[in-house]
């Protein structure tokens, strides 16, 4: 890989971390990480005078995220092709893990309001899994670009 691309990728990694940080902050501020917070955010809370979320309301918020999650995962993951970890089994786990966690992070709100409140746990787990897997991919890129021996 050319040096110019290596520097761009490292800066891109910083942008990605900033994006994940802002996503984490929004989740913490608007929803909260405890199960009861997630439940009251989607099902509404009479004490806090917050209404329950509707399917159309959730879809409106999901729409840009469907594209953004996929694009971010694709761009970040495709850099792995240029690394020595390309054919590693762990990379396959990362790829499938990132897309599956992104899918559940986006679509579990529909399951929470339509199927069962238990899906709040899947929502929390998938959110943390996604924001954990992306930095792991970035660290593999960092190791590969800076040629640190593991």
């Amino acid at each position: 890989m050319h040096k110019a691309y290596k520097i761009s990728i490292l800066i891109f990694a910083l942008f990605t971390l900033l994006l994940l940080l802002s996503g984490y902050m929004i989740f913490e501020l608007k929803i909260g990480f405890e199960a009861k917070n997630v439940l009251s955010y989607y099902m509404g809370d009479a004490k806090l005078f917050t209404p329950a979320k509707t399917n159309s309301g959730i879809l409106k918020l999901s729409l840009p995220h469907i594209f953004a999650f996929a694009l971010l995962a694709m761009v970040v993951l495709h850099f792995l092709i240029f690394t020595k970890f390309k054919y590693n089994f762990f990379v396959k786990v990362l790829i499938y893990g990132a897309f599956i966690s992104a899918f559940f992070e986006i679509f579990t709100p529909f399951l929470i309001i339509n199927v069962s409140e238990l899906f709040i746990y899947l929502k929390i787990v998938s959110f943390f899994l996604y924001i954990l897997l992306i930095p792991i991919v970035l660290s593999l890129l960092f190791v590969s670009i800076t040629q640190i021996k593991l």
Binding site: F15, L19, L72
Partner: protein, 157 residues
């Protein structure tokens, strides 16, 4: 990305119009971004300070933390995608020269700095607005010239 595989982009009859279209839209985005920011959020320190913190004399409310985080989140995503694709095309068309490398690094780092200082201005001190404004203009100007030079190299070099 196919354009990283094509040997000479300027001679490729498929990639040339695709990249030209992309670069023209990037120019339009960079210009529109400045005009939209000017009419909504502000592009100069006083206007930005009023947008972020409000103004009692003019009975204007500041941005709530939730609104600020949403704005910041969207900005990060758009800037990273625009800056990264622009820099990739520019590096590819300029043959990764030292000047190109310098321009790309300045663009990416100032874009990153503008995002970080915007958050610092909101959470820590309004003084960071000045760094935000400077870095905002620097990255837009550098990105604009990188895009123009890429277009020139694609058609006239």
């Amino acid at each position: 990305m196919k354009f990283t595989l094509v040997k000479d982009l300027r001679k490729d009859r498929v990639m040339k119009p695709i990249l030209s279209g992309f670069l023209v839209f990037t120019l339009l985005y960079l210009l529109s971004d400045i005009f939209v920011k000017q009419s909504t959020f502000g592009i100069f320190p006083h206007a930005i300070e009023t947008s972020l913190f409000g103004n009692e004399e003019e009975f204007l409310d500041g941005l709530s933390q939730a609104s600020f985080l949403e704005l910041w989140h969207v900005e990060i995503f758009f800037i990273m995608m625009i800056a990264f694709t622009t820099s990739t095309v520019y590096i590819r068309l300029s043959g990764a020269s030292k000047t190109a490398l310098l321009a790309v690094n300045i663009m990416l780092l100032t874009a990153l700095l503008s995002l970080v200082t915007l958050a610092l201005a909101y959470y820590l001190s309004p003084h960071f607005i000045y760094i935000y404004v400077s870095s905002f203009f620097i990255w837009h100007i550098v990105a604009f010239f990188c895009t123009l030079i890429s277009l020139k190299r694609l058609h006239y070099a």
